[in-house]
């Protein structure tokens, strides 16, 4: 059994549940020391799941909308093994899967989305850069098929997820001379958010299955996580500014 991420420190935001939890499990299984950043106690549950399998992890209470929380999480990661190799900004608003008409979007809903996805990305980048540049590290962010091709149901979610790609492409150019890569994963994952979207709209699951060539949503740990492990690992150092779709063929690069 190889451990491609052995000796690496990885910070994952939003790792208390859903996609972030699966990604944290996959990174830990690949040998990384994982800091599970989550504003809620479910972060401790992710750590327990990792430790039960012999992996190494710690929970840091972290709200990505607060710069101080993110700085503390980065410091916690550095403290554990003396550096930070990879930051994965995965956290999104808890209202991400709430369908909305554009005329009904108010500034509060906008702020819910933007503060987690966009301010969170800004905080992660600022706090992590001094450490990432020391170890030619990686920043990985999450977009969505909605961010790439727009969404009639989730226009605000699409907006911030599209914005994440602009962030990553530009930052990839800015940080390339430092040896730090910035990439984006576009997952289509089976998550609690998706499950709740199904509950709100029972036809969604069947409609999704029709437009996903692989016919199902991806498992966070076994189908999305390995792509993150790849981008975090030795073989991906010359890949930057890219969006890697891990979505069962939902969106095929034009």
């Amino acid at each position: 059994m190889t451990a491609p991420l052995a000796g690496r420190s990885i910070l994952v935001t939003g790792a208390g549940r859903g996609l972030g939890r699966g990604v944290a499990l996959a990174c830990a299984a690949a040998g990384a020391d994982v800091v599970v950043a989550s504003p809620r106690e479910n972060g401790a549950e992710t750590v327990a799941a990792i430790e039960a399998r012999g992996g190494s992890a710690a929970w840091t209470r972290c709200d990505a909308t607060a710069a101080g929380d993110v700085e503390a999480a980065v410091a916690a990661a550095v403290e554990r093994i003396g550096g930070l190799d990879v930051v994965i900004h995965n956290a999104t608003s808890r209202r991400s899967s709430e369908p909305v008409q554009l005329e009904d979007v108010d500034d509060e809903l906008w702020h819910e989305h933007a503060s987690v996805s966009l301010d969170g990305a800004f905080h992660c980048a600022q706090a992590a850069l001094p450490h990432l540049r020391e170890r030619r590290g990686r920043l990985i962010l999450m977009t969505s098929p909605a961010g790439i091709e727009g969404s009639a149901m989730l226009p605000v979610y699409a907006m911030v997820k599209g914005a994440i790609r602009g962030f990553a492409k530009s930052l990839a150019r800015e940080w390339a001379p430092l040896g730090v890569t910035v990439n984006v994963i576009s997952p289509l994952a089976e998550t609690p958010a998706m499950t709740s979207a199904y509950e709100k709209d029972p036809t969604l699951e069947e409609r999704l299955a029709r437009v996903v060539p692989m016919g199902h949503l991806g498992d966070p740990e076994t189908e999305i996580g390995p792509a993150v492990v790849f981008l975090a690992g030795d073989g991906a150092g010359y890949i930057t500014g890219q969006t890697l779709a891990v979505d069962g063929g939902r969106f095929m690069t034009l």
Partner: protein, 223 residues
């Protein structure tokens, strides 16, 4: 080409917005400029209503507004939170408010919405991370609105000039860009960008929606 059409242009008082407004008038549109910073939804709706009262029922909206502060080049690591907010999120909120106001103006009769999103949205740009972030958000907003409003016969598209044209002092004259290597030469906003906006606003454009058209003389070519 646009005779009898009423087009509102945000940011139409200066820079590329003014150049596009003049270019649309060249194409015989009736153009009204929408002024403001679009920071609040209510203020934005009121500004659109004032423009409509002066020009008549609206056929198309062009969102060309940009806060020139967004064009400030600075490494992200040195960007303070207030500047991130101003160069990224305020730009996105302005776009959202203008889209909402445009949707309100266009919903009864259908119409066209065009967002000006420079090509750094597509390519990324070192030093301009906040603005490029906002621009990709605007493109996703355009695509989402295009999907949501298709049934109302509203099209939503993006026109992408070189980012240099967004600077307020270029003001529609010869651009004077010192960028070598454009296969077709440097674009001028009034002569080269406005006609593409007009194309998306004219009769034949009614099934084109959710797209981004670079108008940059042949630098960015989509896959």
């Amino acid at each position: 080409m646009l005779t009898g059409r009423v087009v509102l242009v945000t940011g139409g008082g200066a820079g590329i917005g003014r150049a596009i407004a003049l270019g649309l008038e060249d194409a015989h549109a009736t153009v009204a400029v929408v002024d403001g910073d679009f920071a609040s939804r209510e203020g934005t709706a009121a500004a659109f209503a004032r423009a409509r009262e002066s020009a008549g029922p609206v056929d198309a909206v062009v969102h060309a507004y940009v806060d020139p502060a967004a064009l400030t080049s600075e490494p992200l690591a040195e960007t303070v939170a207030a500047n991130w907010e101003r160069r990224c999120e305020a730009i996105l909120r302005a776009a959202l408010h203008c889209c909402q106001a445009a949707g309100q103006e266009l919903s009864a009769r259908g119409g066209r919405l065009v967002l000006v999103t420079p090509t750094i949205a597509l390519t990324g740009a070192a030093g301009l991370v906040p603005y490029a972030t906002a621009l990709e958000g605007m493109r996703a907003l355009a695509k989402s609105a295009a999907r949501q409003w298709g049934a109302r016969r509203i099209t939503v598209n993006c026109v992408a000039p070189p980012v240099e044209l967004m600077a307020p002092d270029r003001d529609g004259g010869p651009s004077g860009l010192a960028l070598a290597g454009r296969p077709l030469g440097d674009p001028d906003p009034r002569v080269d960008v406005a006609p593409v906006v007009a194309l998306l606003t004219a009769d034949g454009g009614h099934l084109v929606t959710g797209v981004t058209i670079p108008v940059d003389g042949g630098i960015v070519m989509a896959p």
